[in-house]
C-alpha cells in the first residue's frame, strides 16, 4: 500500500549507447531504461517497479533533435514533446504529429517528456497500475474484464486475456504517418514500422512494443509519403489537459482535386495498440471528401468492436471521430 516513495536505486547516465548496453548487460532484469521519466517515476513512486539500476538516457549523444533525411525526417527518441511542437520542419510537414504531441498531458510534462517515452509508455489500466498481479503483470487474471470490473477506459478491439489500451497520443499519429522506429541494441540496428512496433496482448501480454530486453528505441523516421498531407487529430478526454484519451483519432489523407487518393486513419484508446481503421480507409479511397464519404468511413470503423460493460460509449466516439477526420482533414 505504500505509495509516493521510491525505493533506492543506482542512477546511471551513460553518454554513449555502447555504455548503455554494457549497463543493461550488467544489471539484467534489474535495469530500467528511462527517458523523460514521466512514466518511470510513477512506477517507482508506487513501488510497483523496483529496479536496481536506472539507466537514464538523456546524456547519450545523437538521440535528440529533428534531422531532415533523404525521405522525410528522423526524430531522436529523446526529443521532448515540447521541442517537437515547436520544430519548424515538423510543423511544416507533419502537422499531425505536432497536433498529437501538443495534446499530451500538460505543458510541464511535455517539457520533460520525450517522444520515445510517450511511445514506449506502459498502459494506464488502473488495476495493472495498482500493482495487482494481473495477466500483464505475470499473473493469471484480468481484473478489468470481470463481471464487476470498472472498465470504462478499456478496449473495444483486440482483447486477448488483457483488455488494456494504448495510452499514447503520438503513437496513432506516427502510425498514420507510416513512421518507422529505429531500434538499437548491442547486435546492431533494426527498423520496425510503427504499425508493427506496437503489439497487442496476443503477441506479448507483458509488453506494449516490439522492444526486446537490451533494445533501445533511438529514433523515429517519418517518410515523405504523407508529408504535408491533409491531417486530422482529435483527442477526447474528460479534461482539456493532463488526461489520457478515452478515444483519439489521427488521420492522414492524400487528397487531389477533392478526391481522397490515399488515407491512413488510426484510433487511440480503443485497443492495446493504435488501431488502423483499414475498413474505413478502404471505404474512402478514390471517393470525394465530403460528409457522405465520411459517413461511409464511420460505418466501417467500429465493426468487430466488442464493448465491455462500461465502455460502449467508445463506439459512437470512434464513429464520430472518424467521421470528423475524413470530413475535416
Amino acid at each position: 500500500m505504500l505509495k509516493d516513495m521510491m525505493t533506492r536505486f543506482e542512477l546511471y547516465r551513460p553518454t554513449a549507447l555502447a555504455d548503455a548496453y554494457e549497463l543493461i548487460d550488467q544489471f539484467g532484469a534489474g535495469a530500467w531504461l528511462m527517458a523523460g521519466g514521466q512514466d518511470s517515476l510513477d512506477w517507482f513512486k508506487d513501488r510497483a517497479k523496483q529496479p536496481r539500476a536506472v539507466i537514464e538516457l538523456s546524456q547519450i549523444e545523437g538521440m535528440t533533435g529533428v534531422r531532415e533525411t533523404a525521405d522525410g525526417v528522423e526524430i531522436g527518441a529523446l526529443t521532448t514533446l515540447a521541442e517537437i511542437e515547436e520544430n519548424a520542419l515538423v510543423r511544416e510537414r507533419y502537422g499531425l504529429l505536432v497536433s498529437a504531441a501538443s495534446h499530451v498531458a500538460s505543458p510541464q510534462i511535455r517539457n520533460v517528456g520525450t517522444i520515445g517515452g510517450n511511445l514506449c509508455q506502459d498502459t494506464r489500466c488502473w488495476y495493472y497500475r495498482a500493482g495487482l498481479s494481473c495477466y500483464r503483470a505475470g499473473g493469471n487474471i484480468c481484473y478489468a474484464d470481470s463481471p464487476e470490473g470498472m472498465n470504462r477506459e478499456h478496449c473495444l478491439f483486440g482483447a486477448s486475456r488483457c483488455v488494456a489500451v494504448s495510452p499514447s497520443d503520438t503513437a496513432p499519429a506516427l502510425v498514420a504517418l507510416d513512421a518507422s522506429m529505429v531500434v538499437s541494441s548491442r547486435k546492431g540496428e533494426r527498423v520496425v514500422r510503427a504499425e508493427r512496433f506496437f503489439v497487442g496482448p496476443d503477441v506479448d501480454i507483458q509488453r506494449m512494443t516490439a522492444l526486446q530486453p537490451g533494445e533501445i528505441l533511438t529514433a523515429i523516421r517519418i517518410p515523405s509519403a504523407f508529408s504535408s498531407a491533409n491531417f486530422y487529430f482529435e483527442k477526447v478526454a474528460e479534461r482539456k489537459t493532463w488526461d489520457f484519451a478515452l478515444v483519439s483519432v489521427a488521420a492522414a489523407l492524400r487528397i487531389e482535386s477533392g478526391t481522397i487518393r490515399d488515407a491512413r486513419i488510426v484510433c487511440g484508446g480503443v485497443e492495446c495498440r493504435p488501431r488502423r481503421m483499414r475498413d474505413a480507409e478502404d471505404a474512402i479511397r478514390g471517393r470525394e471528401q465530403n460528409a457522405e464519404t465520411a459517413g461511409a468511413a464511420a460505418r466501417r470503423s467500429a465493426g468487430g468492436a466488442r464493448p465491455l460493460r462500461y465502455n460502449e460509449y467508445k463506439i459512437p466516439l470512434v464513429e464520430n471521430l472518424v467521421t470528423r477526420a475524413v470530413r475535416d482533414a
Binding site: 505509495k3 525505493t7 470504462r152 479534461r239 464520430n320 471521430l321
Partner: protein, 801 residues
C-alpha cells in the same frame, strides 16, 4: 452605517509570504534531532490484523521506532482510530515506523510482516441495508454525528423496486421529519415527478497534504499542523493525545487548502506526537498525495428518491425525499441532514417529508466537503426545477424566483426562521449581469455538432454561528493587537473579520497587528473555520471585544480628562471630547492608564462567561495593555443563511460529449460585502470546484475487491485551468443582515453548489432537456445520451466512473 474599512479591498498580511514562498507550512519546519515517520496502510477494505512481525524492520540501520494501535489511545467506535488492528478501508493506517530519513522508514515498512484476515466488506450502502447484507464494522452499519452506532436492516422492504431503478421508500430511516400536508400537496399538484438519483463521493485534493511535526518540550506537546481552524481543533487534538488542552502548543499559520477535510483535528495529527513521546525525538510525518486519498476524507455520496409536486404556476407544492448516504466506516459527516434542510429552505415546498439513513461503507472516511449535503442535493433539485419549468411552460429563472426563500421563510422539520434572505434579489441581479433573457434565446443554438446550453443553479448553506469570544489588546505603544483563533483556511476571512475591530475602534489598519496561527500568541476560543461561518461568527465576536475595548477607552478618557464616557468619541487612535476634539487621550496613553488601573481594564478581571481557552489567553495578556474581551452575547433568533446563484453558458459537442464553458456569473446573498476581492475569489474558486463536482469528480471503487480506482490527481480529475472559463463574473446583493453588527453573513459553500447545478442544468439544456439522474455528468454519459444509448450503470449503483 458608513464604514471606512468594511467593504474595501486590502492586502491580507499573510499574502506576501504565500506569493514569495516565505510562508512556512507544517512540513517546512525542521527541529534538531528530528526523524521522519511513515505509516503502513491496510491493503484490504475490511480485515483483522492477526500478527505484526516488525523484527526485521526494527533491526535495520536508521530505524528508530515503531508505533502500533497498542501504543495510542483507543477511540470509541465508530470514530476513526489513530492506528488500528481492525482496518475498515483500504489505506487505513495500521502502524508507523520512524527512521532517520523517509526512504529508510519506507524500506522498513516493506519489511514488516503483516498477517491480515480478510473480512466481508461493503461498498454499496444498499447492500448493507439488505437483511443479510454485510456490515462495514463488527458493531454496526449505521452511524453519523448525532446518530448512535447501530445495526439497521430493511427487513420488510421491497428491494425488487431496485431492479426497476427505484429506491424503496419504505425502509426504516434514522431521520424522519414532516411538515405540512403531503398528501394534499401532491393532490393539488399540476405535475408530479418521481425520480431516483445518485450523487457521487469525491475527494478534497487539498494541495497541502496533512503533514504534522510534533515534539515534547518542558511538559508541553508542540504540534505543527495543517488545519483550517486554530483553537477549535485543540480540545479534539488533546483527546487524541490524551493530555490537557493547556499542554498543547499548536502552530498552524498557513493551511494549503482543506475544503472541510481539515476543519477539525484528525487522527494522523496525533501519530508524530505519540511516536515522539515513545522515541524521545521530534517526529515529522509527511503525508503523501496518495495518502491524502485514503485518510483525507471525502464527500458522502447519495442514493435517493424524490417525489416532487409543482402547482401549475410552478410553485413547489410537496416534496417527499429519501436519502441514503455512503459514509465510510466511521460515520462521517451528516450531509444527509443538511440536504433535507436545503430543499426545504431553497424551494419552500408547502409540505415536505424527509427521511434519511447514513450507512457505513468500507470506503475512505466520509468528511465535510464544501457544502456537504446542500451541494449534492442542489444537483438533484435544480434539474427538476428546469424540467417542471419546461413541462409547465414557465421560465426557468422565474420558477426559481417564485420558490425562493424570503425574510419570513421557515424551513426544516422544526420550521426554523432565517435572519434574512434575498435570493430573489440575487437571482435578479445575477440574471441581469448574465443577460438571462438574451442568453436563453441562444439555448439550443447549433453550430455543426455543437449546441448551446444555458443553465442557472442555486445552492445554500448555513452561514454563521454565535457565542464565541473576542480578544483584543491596545499595547502601551498604541498599537492594536487583534487576537483571532479562527484559523487560516486560505480565504483571508480571518483578516477581513479582524477589520471589524479596527472599524469599531477607528484605527489605522496599517497599525493593527493580527495575532494568529500559534497558540502561544494567546488566542481566544473561536469556532472552526468551516461551514461558511467565519464572516458572521467572527465579526460578531470581534465586534463584541472591540466594543468592550471602546467602552474602556471612553471610561479611561473620562477618568483622565473629566466628564462622562458619553462625552467622548474615538478617532485617529485617540479618544477625544466630542465638544472639544483637542481634549484627547492617545490610545497609547489610554493603554498605559489601563495598566495602571488594572482590574478589568488590563485583563486582570475577566467576564465570567468566557471559554477557558480565552480566559487562559486573557490571563496571559493581563497587565500588558488595555484588554478588550467578551463573549458574543448578541441576540440571535434565527439561522443566518448564504444563498448563491450561478448562471452558465456552455457549448456542448454532441459527438464527443466535450463542452466548453463560455461564460459563468455568480451572484451571492451574503449580507454586507466586507471584502470584495476575497468574495470575488470565493465565487470564482467555488465555481471551479463546482465545475469539478458537476462534471468530473467521483471516487471509483471496484466492487469485487473493494479497491480504489483513482488515487491521484490525474485520476481524480479536479478541473484544470483549461476546463474552467478564464473570466468569470460575480455580483452580490449587499443588503445588510439585521443579526450581525456589520450586516455580513458567510458565503463559502453555496458558491460551489450553484455552479455545479448550473453546469448540469446547462448540459441537460444542450441535450434538449435530457434528465440525468446521476452526478457528475461525465462525457461518456453525454455521448451515451446524445447517441441514444442506455447508461451502463445499474440503477442506484455507486462508486462508478
Amino acid at each position: 452605517m458608513a464604514f471606512k474599512l468594511i467593504g474595501e479591498n486590502f492586502i491580507p498580511p499573510d499574502l506576501h509570504g504565500k506569493v514569495t514562498g516565505k510562508a512556512k507550512y507544517a512540513e517546512d519546519f525542521r527541529v534538531e534531532g528530528m526523524v521522519f515517520c511513515k505509516m503502513l496502510g491496510s491493503p484490504m477494505p475490511n480485515a483483522r490484523v492477526v500478527r505484526i512481525d516488525a523484527s526485521e524492520a526494527l533491526a535495520m540501520e536508521g530505524v528508530v521506532g515503531i508505533l502500533t494501535a497498542d501504543d495510542v489511545p483507543e477511540m470509541p467506535s465508530p470514530q476513526q482510530p489513530i492506528l488500528t488492528n481492525r482496518p475498515t478501508y483500504v489505506g487505513e493506517p495500521i502502524l508507523a515506523i520512524a527512521a532517520v530519513d523517509e526512504t529508510t522508514a519506507a524500506d522498513a515498512l516493506d519489511r514488516i510482516r503483516l498477517e491480515l484476515e480478510p473480512l466481508p466488506f461493503v461498498i454499496d450502502p444498499l447492500d448493507s441495508l439488505k437483511p443479510s447484507g454485510p456490515n462495514a464494522r463488527d458493531d454496526g452499519n449505521v452511524a453519523n454525528m448525532g446518530i448512535p452506532l447501530q445495526e439497521l436492516k430493511w427487513g420488510s422492504t421491497d428491494f425488487s423496486e431496485l431492479a426497476d431503478g427505484r429506491l424503496p421508500m419504505d425502509g426504516q430511516p434514522v431521520l424522519d421529519w414532516t411538515y405540512g400536508d403531503i398528501e394534499r400537496g401532491f393532490a393539488d399538484a399540476a405535475i408530479v415527478y418521481d425520480e431516483t438519483f445518485v450523487t457521487a463521493s469525491n475527494a478534497h485534493h487539498s494541495m497541502e497534504p496533512r503533514s504534522t511535526l510534533s515534539y515534547w518540550e518542558n511538559g508541553k506537546c508542540f504540534v505543527y499542523g495543517s488545519t483550517q481552524s486554530q483553537t477549535f481543533i485543540m480540545p479534539m487534538l488533546a483527546g487524541y493525545l490524551g493530555i490537557d488542552v493547556a499542554d498543547i502548543v499548536y502552530i498552524s499559520e498557513y493551511c494549503g487548502g482543506g475544503f472541510g477535510s481539515k476543519g477539525v483535528a484528525y487522527p494522523s495529527m496525533a501519530v508524530p506526537a505519540h511516536m515522539s513521546k515513545k522515541i524521545g525525538r521530534p517526529v515529522m510525518l509527511r503525508i503523501t498525495r496518495a495518502e491524502e486519498y485514503f485518510i483525507g476524507s471525502n464527500r458522502g455520496g447519495f442514493q435517493g428518491r424524490i417525489k416532487i409536486g409543482f402547482g401549475k404556476g410552478g410553485k413547489v407544492s410537496a416534496v417527499d425525499l429519501y436519502v441514503v448516504q455512503s459514509c465510510g466506516p466511521n460515520g462521517g459527516f451528516p450531509d444527509f441532514d443538511s440536504a433535507g434542510h436545503a430543499v426545504s429552505l431553497c424551494y419552500q415546498p408547502a409540505a415536505m417529508r424527509y427521511r434519511a439513513v447514513p450507512v457505513l461503507t468500507n470506503t475512505p472516511p466520509g468528511g465535510a466537503q464544501r457544502g456537504p449535503g446542500q451541494n449534492q442535493i442542489a444537483m438533484v433539485m435544480e434539474p427538476l426545477l428546469d424540467r417542471a419549468a419546461r413541462d409547465l411552460g414557465v421560465d426557468r429563472l422565474a420558477i426559481r424566483r417564485l420558490n425562493s426563500p424570503k425574510n419570513d421563510s421557515l424551513f426544516g422539520g422544526e420550521q426554523h426562521g432565517v435572519t434574512s434572505a434575498y435570493q430573489d434579489e440575487g437571482l435578479g441581479k445575477g440574471a441581469e449581469r448574465f443577460g438571462w433573457a438574451d442568453k436563453l434565446r441562444r439555448s439550443g443554438e447549433r453550430n455543426g455538432s455543437k449546441v448551446i446550453g444555458i443553465g442557472v443553479g442555486q445552492a445554500y448553506h448555513e452561514a454563521g454561528a454565535a457565542g464565541f469570544d473576542g480578544l483584543v489588546r491596545i499595547a502601551p505603544d498604541g498599537r492594536l493587537h487583534i487576537h483571532t483563533g479562527i484559523g487560516n483556511l486560505g480565504t483571508y476571512s480571518y483578516a477581513a473579520t479582524s477589520r471589524v475591530v479596527a472599524e469599531v475602534l477607528q484605527c489605522d489598519w496599517e497599525r493593527c497587528v493580527i495575532e494568529r496561527g500559534d497558540s502561544r500568541k494567546h488566542l481566544p476560543w473561536n469556532f472552526g473555520q468551516f461551514g461558511s461561518n467565519t464572516s458572521f461568527t467572527m465579526s460578531r465576536s470581534n465586534h463584541a471585544a472591540a466594543v468592550d475595548a471602546r467602552n474602556k477607552l471612553l471610561e479611561i478618557a473620562a477618568d483622565m480628562l473629566g466628564g462622562s464616557p458619553e462625552d467622548f468619541e474615538l478617532g485617529d487612535e485617540t479618544v477625544f471630547a466630542k465638544a472639544e476634539p483637542r481634549r484627547n487621550v492617545s490610545f497609547a496613553a489610554a493603554a498605559r492608564r489601563a495598566v495602571e488601573l488594572g482590574g478589568r481594564y488590563d485583563g486582570h478581571e475577566l467576564p465570567e462567561d468566557l471559554n477557558p481557552i480565552t480566559r487562559a489567553s486573557a490571563v496571559a495578556l493581563a497587565g500588558t495593555g488595555l484588554v478588550g474581551v467578551a463573549k458574543d452575547n448578541y441576540p440571535i433568533s434565527a439561522t443566518p443563511v448564504a444563498l448563491a446563484a450561478g448562471f452558465i453558458m456552455i457549448e456542448l459537442d454532441l459527438e464527443t460529449g466535450v463542452y466548453e464553458i463560455l461564460e459563468y456569473n455568480g451572484a451571492i446573498d451574503c449580507g454586507t460585502v466586507i471584502h470584495p476581492l476575497s468574495l470575488a475569489n470565493q465565487v470564482k474558486g467555488g465555481a471551479v470546484m463546482g465545475i469539478g463536482l458537476g462534471g468530473l469528480e467521483r471516487l471509483v471503487y471496484d466492487p469485487q475487491n473493494g479497491l480504489p480506482a483513482n488515487v491521484g490527481l490525474y485520476q481524480s480529475k479536479p478541473p484544470s485551468y483549461l476546463d474552467v472559463p478564464s473570466h468569470m463574473g460575480w455580483d452580490a446583493v449587499g443588503i445588510a443582515d439585521p443579526q450581525n453588527p456589520v450586516g455580513v453573513r458567510g458565503m463559502g459553500e453555496p458558491v460551489m453548489g450553484c455552479a455545479a447545478s448550473a453546469l448540469i442544468c446547462a448540459i441537460s439544456d444542450a441535450l434538449g432537456g435530457h434528465y440525468f439522474n446521476r452526478t457528475p455528468i461525465t462525457c461518456e454519459m453525454i455521448v451515451n445520451a446524445a447517441s441514444g444509448r442506455p447508461q451502463p450503470h445499474r440503477p442506484l449503483q455507486v462508486f462508478t466512473f
